[in-house]
Subunit: 641 residues, 3 copies
């Protein structure tokens, strides 16, 4: 299975004089780009007043790009409603958890639950689809759902929609009271109209209340996007995409993956390292010009899984829609990438199966919020360092354009609903779902493994030899059946199958897995400075479960208490493993599964793409691995092209 | 003097099917429990709609418990008004200092100043008192006043009540202006209706303004509780209690102590260590599974003093109403207690004079906000570790049920109004009243002393040999007289008698104690990293006073400036002592007073209960003391039972 | 050029019984004071109800001071509008960035944009000017503009005034859209009435939007002050002043300097060290009783420059209006000054050209917000330690009253608008304009240099041998011309001339200085833990620019990339220098300029005042310099008096 690799960029013709469009297009083609994304922030220029449509300039821009041989992804401009929209819908703004409306003046200033704004978004989408549907090669809906913490809104629109959503789900207040356990503190409701959003309570609200609000909020995104998709499909057969972000877990991306042909994401390795990872300062310093060595890979694998949800017989289609090409402007600190990293990031995406890597943006903007965000060109149109690295990739691609892909030996289940459940009820500071899953992913990668990520309703595990199901708070029925039937080694826990769908503690106590006589009798959370030593390597930290039952004990802590217990191919893990304990767990599981592991130097990562193995040096110095010395930012391609 | 010791638990019949009530009751009796507290969160089930009373189930629950031989404490459910209450009184919510109403969805969502809600609280109290007054063995008003920072409310109801309170106190705006010194920044008022609550000012409000708001807020709690007490007394002769919390100083507990027969408190040693103590991380780690070695003892002594305010010739009656039996859910980190600690905590309460220790809760709840809060039973009704420790105490009590009590040799004055004064005008970060008094209490305990806590209006000091009066900002007339007359050694200061009742600086300058020629000529606060070395042991830190006058200088700092000065039995301390200087001060004072001190190992604490001495090992390892080796969580009982 | 030095104090007759005024005045005169500032917080006593004027007591107070031979500075009381003002103008309050009105109960609770309040302020100013204009020796407008973060207000009044200001500036929404680059995220406006204040947006607003709001806010202060100045001038020929604060950069002080004869500032060395400097804890501890060794000097030089803006042929007149005389009450920690520091601070001000140093305050207030703020007298009227140091200065002055002044060899440009630009668009945490300029100032001082600060529109650099222009984001035309013509050594950058007036990136790229072939091709910001080593001494930290061009490279980083480049006397600096690199830069520049540097011990600073050299020991221990040992707080005066 393979797919042709391409490069692209993001272009804003509305930012530049029309006189230079043709030259820009020619330079893009000359650089070896295939795709150009346009239009996603241009609403005020497409419709400067309600109903006053100015689409001609966009058509001329598309035509100009086409004439240069480029393909166009057209974005719906709904992430940036113009100022006049607020006059029509003054209550369309999202509201933050403190009750403050999130005003006009930047972007994403809308509440997903506002029907008036949603109708406007569908209207402009339909207008664009009708006019450009026959013309463009692909679509993007909106831009970066969830960026700037924009999924959860505490607006009146959200309040009313949430009540409707609850009424649909529970049918009666009594049923809701039972499901949520509202008897607990006299929190019973007589009517759905009494239910407020779960912000600004005296102490924490009922976790079942908050979890339902999280589910509702995710559903609102899916509903909003589905509307745009339908509006486009009415007029266009071109594939549709959305550009996701890094570590946004507030909505279920798999649901959106089912709606659209292509999943894309916006990869900013240096910004993300600084602003959304728990790594200690010395690690952030070590990788300040390289980015975290696993964060991009994780999202490549995650969004490949999201793309795979679209019902089609083909390979999952996923892209990097925005690839950082130089310093950005929005992180706490914004260094320049080390030389070669733009090329490395591009090849890493291809190694994980990307169809296209598109650089954000063509030319650095001299005005607006992102003036210090590099482009392929400087503001004075001189090529920036990233341009030259993109050109190098383009030359390399010319002789080896195909992506090979194959199922990985290891599968890791990722579940957005569990991220919400942990956030709603962390039980201890630092107990975060994404963090735990990502630490496990990193542990797998450090042992040279290639990984497929799977959604939580996965029904078939065929072909995998090792399956990890950490922290999935409520197992779906399909996954339960698949786990019961698989011959793969399964490592499950901690906190897996720990809760009912209403986030209460089930009886019998967790994990209640068929055939596995293990009971979590008690849960405790630990200060980060008091990790519990294992009898063998490493520690359990942050989250620890006391295990009982007749299953075989595999690992014990230094006090002799069981930490992992096994029945057949199923191993339950009763705690948050530190890197050393995790390494031990993975090596043992891989040995049992017959999966080879590698002893990688710290900065090295590999990715097996079919018969090709890619080796990447993410560190600031040269590293020797397998007899070969990779320079900083080095990329090694082994096996058939 | 002695009292029979008992055990109890907190039970929520409304959370469980009625079918299992009888078995639960039988198991409680079998475990050796005497008391069961019920009802305090059940309003929505007692009155699902206004006036629709459903009291029969509660009667059946009480009867079931009675049939098993258990005694019942009935709580008024006013900490959890049902949702319909908000429809009747939309403005009943407390408002936080940022001006945001504190909404429905958890508990304690009421403003003490709201007369409409207060009337509803009195109504339900009267209904319960009338129905169950002849039946139950004790009462509890409301639940944990002040928990979740619920004393200070910035609502309209509070604003109007504060104005009335000020009008009563000052009679004229001119008198208020004079008392507050409103001339300072043109802050004069022409009318009480112009006075706002002291939040959201540009910079700090007048400290006299804020202090009066603190006094008012405390008075509102006393008024609210007094109403409930009167409503109960109209129908019941059973003793009344309230369950206080740890380190809540926003209202004057002594005032409430005068209203009710029994003082109880809710003791969560592990949660409190994590979320409300200034100890450094390594200390929190050391005691993570034991709790602070002095925090519980302090509150035992404090609430014994609160209980002693009730006018009665008997021993003060105080309980632990909620004893942590395992991990809790609400602290930053929630580890399990070390084995034996539940037993130790129970015996420690008895050693300080507790009549009853009641475990919270009988069975871990599978729903609602406290799912990971342990009970004596697990959610599946299997005994949890705490159950077995409670059973051990029950067996031990069976042969030695009596509490011996006697006056301690050392008295420590505790004054809620001083906590407010320090909070309003700390003069330096970290200068907190509770912190200073608790550090002094800890210093006394580390020298093996048993302590009585006294209220600030104490008029007689008979029987004490050492009296400490740290940081009492304004001395009451009775206490001034008692100090003048006592033959005990008195250690007073820093910042004692430093302010007028209006929180201004008095003339002559402080401390203005008769017979003591000492003047605090200047006050400074110090960075925590710049403690001032003493000429002898230790340092002064955080708060330092410059002392003048003819009194004898006892201690000087390394620069020769006086830090303590004495006349007769009265010693003034002009700074915040660190542990080493404090130890020196206490040993010298005890020597002068003829009180013996002990050289305790760090984790050991003792409590003299009449002729019985209890020794407790609060540390994670075995400790040898006085020739005996105590295991971790060890409890040693010496002398007559 | 020289000026007579005097001392003064701040006095609040309204705080004390009239009976003691005369004695207070006599004691002031006896101490050797010349000036007394009064009245600035007394509005509620001057006009207890609207129109009810009570000016007689103030006249008696002035007369009493005059009779003792003292001169009076009368403050307009507009920083503390009385409570009745709010009834007349309920919407006069400033609003914070979270949208909360900043209420009555302290001071500065007004919005500069509120026309109703502004009219009241002008009214009371005119009343005072008319009554006391012929009588008082000087005026002060308002008090400490900007203290408590009071320049930026998000009120309705500010919103409407901002729209008018924008309409005046841009004339059409289209012009504004072009200037701001509103096409960027569809942020175009159709009308000025659609433009909101730049708070509470979803993510950062357009930096051009925020910068214009900053400019507008500064203009509002200038407008407010100009009104008062005009009201006073109508009735009085006495000089007018305002008392600025330390590190307040939210309005352009040079603009106000053009309005008034005298610039004063309020110097609180210990409070400022604690609450507004980035120094690490060990430095704050080292100087806890001394204050930062450069912060006062910087502001002396800055406000001398502000005073120099007033069109007059005379020496610039500047004072310290409030000199810290002991511990204050408002910093995180409030230690007492080391003995001698009050004298040192006073002499340091004189060495920098102060005409008067006035101690705040005469007597410590026993009530209100500043009870623990020392005065020259204690609350009981006994002299406090600061009194004796002031007396010592008075004795010293008696024999040497004249201040000598001369142009310094080194000039440093300071630009408030650049402070706003950096704050609006820092591009990295810690990248703050004041911090960078102050670090450079400190570097100059550590080499013994005396410095003149210049405004950003300086047109003549005659007489200077070294001129530093760091971080001035947009160079004014006069300064560009002056730099092109000067024969002085010029050190410019980083980020100098980096932006257009609309805060966009200019073409050609910066710095675009005539004759200097240097281009900043890329900007990056660095984690503070990753300074870039230079090939020679020191590092570049936080902010780094990549430089291209044909100019001579003076310094390279360890990787060989240019950091400074030169053409003739003009050197461009492409990064934020650490102290070691800065020292190297300054020494080289001074060598080239023929300016001598000194190798000062760490705690020593010098100031050349004409032919007199002052040497100050800012450290806690004795220091030997130039063969003389200065005790702690030592002041050495060398050369002709
Ligand atoms: Zn983006
Ligand atoms: Zn409780
Ligand atoms: Zn001041």
């Amino acid at each position: 299975m393979s797919l042709k690799r391409t490069l692209g960029t993001c272009y804003y013709p509305e930012h530049w004089p029309e006189e230079i469009w043709a030259e820009d297009a020619a330079r893009m083609a000359d650089l070896g780009l295939t795709w150009v994304r346009i239009g996603e922030f241009a609403w005020s220029r497409l419709e400067p007043a309600h109903g006053d449509l100015r689409l001609d300039w966009l058509e001329r821009a598309i035509d100009t790009l086409h004439r240069a041989g480029l393909k166009v992804v057209l974005g719906t401009p709904t992430a940036t409603p113009p100022r006049w929209m607020l006059d029509r819908h003054p209550d369309m703004l999202a509201v933050d958890a403190d009750g403050r409306p999130r005003g006009f003046g930047s972007r994403r200033h809308y509440c997903f639950s506002h029907d008036g704004y949603r109708a406007e978004a569908l209207r402009i989408t339909a207008i664009l689809a009708k006019r450009f549907g026959p013309k463009v090669e692909a679509w993007q809906t909106d831009n970066e759902y969830g960026c700037h913490d924009t999924i959860l809104s505490y607006s009146d629109a959200a309040r009313h929609a949430f009540r409707d959503w609850l009424a649909q789900k529970y049918q009666s207040p009594e049923a809701l009271n039972r499901a949520w356990g509202n008897v607990f503190w006299s929190m019973d409701y007589d009517s759905f109209d009494q239910i407020d959003l779960p912000n600004l309570t005296v102490t924490e609200p009922n976790p079942a209340h908050t979890l339902d609000f999280r589910r509702f909020s995710s559903d609102q995104v899916a509903r909003f996007n589905a509307g745009q998709v339908a509006a486009i499909r009415a007029h266009s057969t071109a594939p549709i995409s959305h550009n996701y972000m890094g570590r946004i877990v507030e909505f279920d991306h798999f649901t959106l993956g089912r709606q659209m042909e292509i999943a894309t994401w916006d990869s900013y390795p240096l910004g993300f390292l600084e602003d959304r990872l728990e790594e200690p300062p010395e690690v952030k310093r070590h990788y300040a010009r390289q980015g975290d060595p696993d964060f991009q890979a994780f999202h490549h694998d995650l969004y490949r899984a999201v793309a795979a949800q679209f019902p089609s017989g083909d390979l999952p289609r996923w892209w990097v829609m925005e690839q950082q090409p130089g310093p950005v402007n929005w992180a706490p600190h914004n260094p320049a990438p080390a030389p070669g990293m733009v090329r490395l990031w591009t090849w890493e995406a291809f190694a994980h199966g990307a169809e296209c890597v598109s650089y954000f943006r063509w030319r650095q903007a001299p005005f607006g919020q992102e003036q210090y965000h590099a482009g392929l060109l400087r503001p004075d149109s001189v090529p920036a360092p990233g341009y030259h690295e993109a050109a190098e990739v383009a030359r390399e691609l010319a002789t080896a354009p195909m992506v090979e892909m194959a199922q990985a030996p290891v599968a890791l289940v990722f579940d957005y609903a569990s991220a919400w459940a942990w956030a709603v009820q962390p039980q201890g500071q630092g107990c975060d779902y994404f963090r735990l899953v990502f630490e496990i992913y990193r542990g797998l990668r450090k042992l040279g493994l290639s990984i497929d990520i799977l959604p939580p309703d996965t029904a078939r595990l065929n072909g995998y030899r090792l399956v990890l199901v950490p922290a999935v708070v409520t197992l779906s029925e399909p996954l339960k059946r698949a786990l019961a039937m698989t011959g793969a080694q399964v490592l499950i826990g901690p906190r897996s199958n720990a809760k009912t769908a209403a986030l209460s503690i089930p009886l019998p106590l967790p994990p209640a897995l068929p055939g596995l006589d293990v009971t979590v009798s008690r849960v405790e959370t630990l200060r980060p400075d008091m990790p519990l030593p294992m009898a063998g390597a490493g520690h359990v930290t942050l989250w620890r479960e006391e295990l009982e039952g007749g299953a075989e004990v595999l690992d014990r802590d230094a006090d002799g208490r069981p930490v992992t217990m096994r029945a057949g191919n199923l191993t339950y893990l009763g705690g948050w493993p530190d890197p050393a304990f995790l390494r031990h767990l993975v090596i043992r599981a891989c040995d049992a599964a017959g999966v080879a592991t590698l002893d990688l130097p710290p900065d090295i990562r590999v990715r097996q793409a079919g018969k090709t193995r890619f080796v990447f040096n993410h560190g600031p110095g040269p590293v020797t691995f397998d007899g070969v010395t990779l320079p900083p930012a080095g990329v090694l391609r082994q096996g058939p092209a």
